[in-house]
Symmetry: C2
Subunit: 296 residues, 2 copies
Amino acid sequence: MTTDFSSWSNELLIRTESALEHYLPNAGNAPVRLHAAMRYAVLGGGKRIRPLLAYAAGEACETDPARVTAAACAVELIHAYSLVHDDMPCMDNDVLRRGKPTCHIEFDVATALLVGDSLQSLAFEILSARIEGIDAAQQLNMIKLLATASGSHGMAGGQAIDLDSVGASLTLPELEFMHIHKTGALIRAAVMLGANCGNSRTEAELSGLDHYAKCLGLAFQVVDDILDASASTNDLGKTAGKDAEQNKPTYVSLMGIADARLLARSLHEEAMTALDPYTHNLRLRQLADIIVQRTC
Amino acid sequence: MTTDFSSWSNELLIRTESALEHYLPNAGNAPVRLHAAMRYAVLGGGKRIRPLLAYAAGEACETDPARVTAAACAVELIHAYSLVHDDMPCMDNDVLRRGKPTCHIEFDVATALLVGDSLQSLAFEILSARIEGIDAAQQLNMIKLLATASGSHGMAGGQAIDLDSVGASLTLPELEFMHIHKTGALIRAAVMLGANCGNSRTEAELSGLDHYAKCLGLAFQVVDDILDASASTNDLGKTAGKDAEQNKPTYVSLMGIADARLLARSLHEEAMTALDPYTHNLRLRQLADIIVQRTC
């Protein structure tokens, strides 16, 4: 690593924005309203944590960022589609996202539905175009990984469990099961997709990465719950305090804010330990620090 | 062709149902409500026109049905997801589909949203698992074809144009543009996916297939409009007369039912002519007859 973390991440954030800009349909092409809404939902906001994780995992597996870009964008598009659908009136019914009106507020509910649907298709379209330096069989594996992480055994399944849990009293293991699917699956996919763009690794290295991603995904959610309970709407760019208001089980409601902070710290440490097989890379470690210490 | 059409189609319908049954998540696995709703939305109904088109195109390209099954099911899952989302209150707000309550009526709107999302993911999951006899690069092409046909430049884009057209006075070319996307894109994808499972063809053969599919897709929609205006809800298994009630532009509203029937006949003939480069196969011709002459 010859550059500091912020130079590294700034360069990759610019690369990600520019690639997303390029992949998204031109707003001048029909159907213009749908295309404008797709761009609205994806561009100009978002921490791009999943793309950064993909790039960092790619670096851990000694690959060039150029090879990772398609995967980084595909996973971000899946994330963006899930936010658009989650915000809809039939789900969380939220009006604010990334400091802006949510997609169905800025456009309309039917358009938001189609935006989500189209972003999902676009993710797979991007990941099925040939990527230089990655063989076709490997690319098929990557598509399978992303599709599985997105569907009913992954992210969408986690959403379904979340719906069923409103007003219910979950145990901690049940809450963890939900989050491993709802946010964890896509975070793991980001890391494993990035790794898949690189040179092949030993089993120990790959399972280390996977465990890192699992712990980090959970830590991410615990921190999300802490922020929802303690930060302001202004700081978050989305409505704060929604979990308590909607009577949703969270790490904070189940264990209190102090223990939730301890849990985040312990998951963070476990994620770091999982990277022990890697001696040459610290981007994933730096990213874990930032994800756990974030304030918005 | 050693068997008659109904033996051929019955065998492939059984193959399709059994494969869909196998691909869909077990309703006993968590999240059970989502998985039950996914199965409800896909199984036990549907004419399976797209899978049959894929098999027929596969036969035209001299491939074994076993090689086509994944593609046939993937395209049917995309179709099934689009029906679930189209029926939702923010779109067509329909309560009846395939003679049963629509997914959001039988379950709930949030679940229907996740069902559609998960079925789309599942389609790509299926198409990214290795298919014996098809090389990985070819499979990537197939995924790209399906993703493009599903997204904002295909089916979902057609839906968006449809939304914008309610209450508007479209010209015939505008109506055609909408349907080429809304229903046409996926019908073409079904045919081209089936062809992609087979041996490589000449340019003339492939463009013949594509033109066949384009004409058939439009004919399918013209017949749909005629049936909506003339058949009963009971015969259709979905609410009849919705187009006129919702003031939607259709071939019937734009040109009258008699001219719409003539148009369907002429598109049918054009589809047949497009198959001229093929001398050895008639399944696609038989399917076109059935699609244009259907009464429900």
